[in-house]
Amino acid sequence: MSDIIEEPFFKGSTGRNTRGVLRLTILCLIAAAAIASRLFSVIRFESIIHEFDPWFNFRATKYLVQHGFYDFWDWFDDRTWHPLGRVTGGTLYPGLMVTSGVIYHALRALTIPVDIRNICVLLAPGFSGLTAYATYLFTNEMTTSPSAGLLAAAFMGIAPGYISRSVAGSYDNEAIAIFLLVFTFFLWIKALKVGSVFWGAWCALFYGYMVSAWGGYVFITNLIPLHVFVLVLMGRFSPRVYVAYCTWFAIGTLASMQIPFVGFLPIRSSEHMSALGIFGLLQLVGFVEFVRAGVPSRQFKTLVTGFVVAVVLIAFAALVLLTVSGVIAPWTGRFYSLWDTGYAKIHIPIIASVSEHQPTAWPAYFFDLNLLIWLFPAGVYLCFLKLNDEQVFIVVYSILASYFSGVMVRLMLTLTPIVCVSAAMALSYLLDTYLTIKSPPEPTDAQILDAANNSSSKKAGKQDGIRSTREPLVGIYTTFSKTTVVSAMTAYLLIFVLHCTWVTSNAYSSPSVVLASRMPDGSQHIIDDYREAYQWLRQNTPEDAKIMSWWDYGYQIGGMADRPTLVDNNTWNNTHIATVGKAMSSREEVSYPIMRQHEVDYVLVVFGGLLGYSGDDINKFLWMVRIAEGIWPDEVKERDFFTDRGEYRVDDGATETMKNSLMYKMSYYNYNSLFPAGQAQDRVRGVKLPEVGPTLNTVEEAFTSENWIIRIYKVKDLDNVGRDHASAASFDRGNKKKKTTKKRGPKVLRVE
């Protein structure tokens, strides 16, 4: 950038080596810090897989390790989505599992007996170290300042925006995807600068790896073409661009098509069309450049330009036509909801129901990036100083990522790397300016004068440069200003470190499978209901007992209880989910046939009322109703679950539909017998429950965890004497009245 920073402490080759060693040690320390700051949950609880999706990845990894790669590749899983099953091998991104499988086998080859679970748990922290290193390389491509890379690596290592998805135990695709993202971008920049097929090929290979690891690869697929497009518009087309892009596109597309889940999407779906289009455009531009170089005739040039424009228009028209005619698949819902922001809420309630698909409020940005968020624009501005291809990349990336992260919280993940990089560039530029020992000599008035003169003349002269760099560079005179600025920045950085640690330990380190609560004496008490219930299911129910629960818990049941489920977090079949939603939100007489048809043996509901655990099913209930209503608008109506005054209530004021819904009954069944009569209290909704608890006829309580968080019900078989369950149950109640009055309350004969 400027010459003042080119002042190494050590001269000569020994100096170079020393600096190399220093860099290496610093990088290692950064990686260590990155890994260490992600281990809170392991230290607090244990080495355990976190919330939901990771449990599926973990299960898939175990399958891969046991049955080998090819079985994994064509794995048809009949233990999920009963009775449909799922072609798991063809509908997942295998990168994550394969990575940990390779690590596992490598360690085994060295006869180091490490449990596959520990590999999965520690994969994300391990890769975060690599991500820091990749960021270092990426930043070094961007700036000449030797310190920027290290700063960027440090930021990347501890920025909460990245930690949020990569703490130990969150064994999700993002764990390795972010590393691949950054490293692919590094390789891309490298290929672009050198213009070599070698680097382009590497970029393509890592792009392929990325495709195999995360659905977010579409971001790369669109960002790189956009970058190239902008370059072409800026008239920066060059053979380097041509070589790099074509290599990347050709090999990368082929590589990505090797993943079954992706298959032919790269040439059929709209998400990938931009890459294809730019590829075509580059051919044209290349051709034109070639011709232009050869034939110096004005008309011919205009002709060529006209030709180019025509071709582009035709190509675009063809694209539209194909899309309309359906040869090219239109945007997928998730992707579409990025542009038409209202889309998901109306059309795809499942997507809208996921919390991480919500838009981002500004506190989230500050929470995840702290001071980087305001260093970020400064860094982007610095890129305009010397606007080469790579700086253009930063600008494009910044704007695009900022937009996406604003639309969807989870895409904060793609924003974080560029924020770290540009913030580091800004900061390092600042520090390089203020951390120099040598000060410029005090100027005499004459110098000032002529400086003013030639500066004014310069103003007249070069117009295109960025404004703030027109005057000649002088440097900082007083040590006072240097010390103030430097010390202030150090203070901010320290706050940043504290902030990151605080955020990580408080917000991002709880494995949501195990809940921690504080005893009165301050000691930690662990609430382990989930695993209690799952273990009970695993040990004391038949191997093929079908479990019906809301889809959030599908993966956990599959992973921990090892039982077939109806629906799970891979929400590929909306109708099936809606069926479960209907069963949950309808009356028993309606739900029972549904459950019989799906061979449901046990129903699992999550109930936080006793403990005040807010993430329970009653709070998610409305989504079940909505999704069910999407398919059966006449049978399930969201309106019926609200009181006339439009309140969502569970106490006496609840609507009849609510009180009769299976979910409500299963949540509160038998609950009021814990309390003195009429004192039953729901600690989540904070309301008093009806005097008389609900009665269940078609299902019976099979297991309830210690704090009632998980309640498992067994679906009764058909009655032996052929009575319907209502009368059978009431008959039993009538018999057992003496014994169980307190338990069940007065018997209720349902009339149909």
Partner: protein, 491 residues
């Protein structure tokens, strides 16, 4: 009487089922000696006086026979036979015979006799230490116990009902010889014995009740193999803890000076199942006053003093509800399963802990031999007792340990010395695997003594290997780094 009939029917069913599933257990019994199928134990002995004590206080029947045996043959004899039904043979465990008179005489050699697999009567043969002269007498103490010989009746009870068990035996002690005088004592856990068979024979009508102790007999002379079936049904509101498989690993590390224990249990509760599903409200409410229950709430492991950092996990991770109390005098590991284990429920789990090697290992004065002395079994100590169907004990000695010998008083069925590769082993560690079946928790305190040689060089192998590996790695890296693979010519 009617109830008894029903009970009998149920029992017979159960027993057949039992035979069906235990059928394979008779296989691993090695140390059989094959005899012609027309074998009858020679009538060389006479049981002068016999006392048969059946102890039902724990969750398995433990029997003790004290008999005064007289040699009625003309020649000295040393082979005494004890008869069992084939079903008993399948489930009998820990048969031990010793001379009551001199207690330090040690145990006599005992072996199962196989002559006719179809025949219902099988024999164990006791070989006396020295032959018994004619007309001479010896007092034998025979003790053994049966697995899964107790069955709840009724088979399903409600959550807080009390449980009743049924046990069948013979009032006349099964013997291959004429018995002149005998009686059978039954010790019950409590006085609550609603049903029992009444035997008319003998001086007085049996049984004679004294508190929780019933006495059948005494009976006058009965011929060999005489049987008088008796069935008792008594209250036992405790879990029937049944470990179908216990794998116990003991890993010796000389470098770390550490002895690592890990035990993997496959635990079942054979108590009566629940009539209707588990009810949390009831369970929680009855936790305040702690009534007897057939559910397993807690298991207590009294470990050796000085045991360190224990863990208690199951297939889905650590179980936080465990307590470890360790001080100068005791080291108690108290583990709570994730959920109360009722009859018919299962709960496989694993526990492990470390201990200081010096407490267990001693180096011999001469040569580089070592002596390792560890408890054979350290399972939970429950008041109701527990039984182990299979035990597989693995002692993993350091890499390069040679000429391994062992000795223990626990009846084993097989032994094996193999190699176990882990933690960057090159040749693999010597692993001694011992198998035992049908063991009850009385054998907790039996010890296992292993002696082996461990030369110094073997101890130094691993560090050397690792050092060489890394050194060659760096050398190779340096060599490759110094190569020039550029395709452009030198300038």
């Amino acid at each position: 009487m009617r109830l008894l009939a029903i009970g009998a029917a149920v029992l017979s069913l159960a027993s057949t089922a039992l035979c069906a599933e235990k059928g394979n257990l008779t296989k691993p019994l090695t140390s059989r000696l094959i005899l012609p199928s027309t074998f009858k134990p020679p009538q060389n002995f006479k049981n002068v006086n016999l006392v048969h004590i059946i102890n039902l206080e724990k969750s398995y029947p433990k029997e003790q026979i004290n008999v005064v045996v007289e040699n009625i043959a003309s020649t000295p004899q040393d082979e005494y036979y004890i008869p069992f039904t084939s079903q008993q043979m399948a489930t009998i465990g820990g048969l031990e015979v010793k001379d009551k008179k001199n207690s330090d005489g040690g145990l006599f050699e005992v072996g199962a006799v196989e002559f006719d697999p179809e025949s219902d009567t099988q024999f164990y043969r006791v070989r006396l230490a020295q032959p018994l002269a004619p007309k001479a007498q010896i007092t034998l103490g025979i003790s053994y116990s049966y697995l899964s010989a107790l069955h709840p009746l009724p088979k399903h009870i409600a959550q807080q009902d009390s449980q009743f068990l049924v046990y069948e035996f013979s009032a006349y002690c099964p013997s291959a010889y004429v018995t002149t005088k005998q009686k059978t004592e039954v010790k019950f856990p409590s006085g609550n014995v609603p049903e029992y068979t009444i035997v008319a024979g003998g001086e007085v009508e049996s049984p004679v009740k004294a508190g929780s102790k019933f006495t059948y007999g005494s009976f006058s002379e009965v011929p060999a193999g005489a049987v008088e079936p008796v069935k008792v049904r008594y209250e036992f509101t405790k879990p029937l803890i049944h470990i179908s498989q216990l794998e116990r690993d003991i890993e010796v590390s000389h470098w770390g000076g550490n002895l690592a224990f890990e035990e993997r249990y496959t635990l079942h509760n054979h108590a009566a199942n629940l009539t209707n599903q588990f009810n949390r409200v009831q369970w929680a409410s009855q936790q305040y006053y702690n009534p007897p229950s057939t559910a397993i709430k807690e298991l207590k492991f009294p470990l050796r003093v000085g045991s360190l950092d224990p863990y208690f996990t199951d297939v889905i991770g650590n179980v936080s509800t465990s307590r470890f109390r360790s001080n100068k005098r005791e080291a108690n590991l108290e583990i709570k399963p994730r959920y109360p284990i009722f009859g018919g429920w299962n709960y496989p789990f694993r526990v492990g802990w470390n201990a200081d090697l010096k407490k267990f290992l001693r180096k011999l004065k001469t040569g580089d031999g070592y002596v390792l002395n560890v408890p054979f079994l350290e399972g939970p100590k429950q008041s109701e007792g527990m039984v182990y169907e299979h035990i597989e004990l693995r002692v993993i000695l350091p890499e390069g340990a040679v000429n391994v010998k062992y000795s223990t008083t626990v009846p084993l069925v097989s032994e094996e010395i193999s190699l176990h590769r882990t933690f960057m082993d090159t040749t693999g560690r010597t692993a001694l695997t011992l198998k035992a079946i049908n063991i009850v928790d009385d054998f907790r305190d039996r010890e296992l003594i292993v002696t082996y040689d461990y030369p110094l060089l073997a101890g130094l192998r691993k560090p050397l290997v690792i050092f060489i590996t890394f050194f060659s790695l760096f050398a190779a890296a340096w060599g490759i780094g110094s190569l020039d693979v550029g395709i452009k010519g030198k300038k």
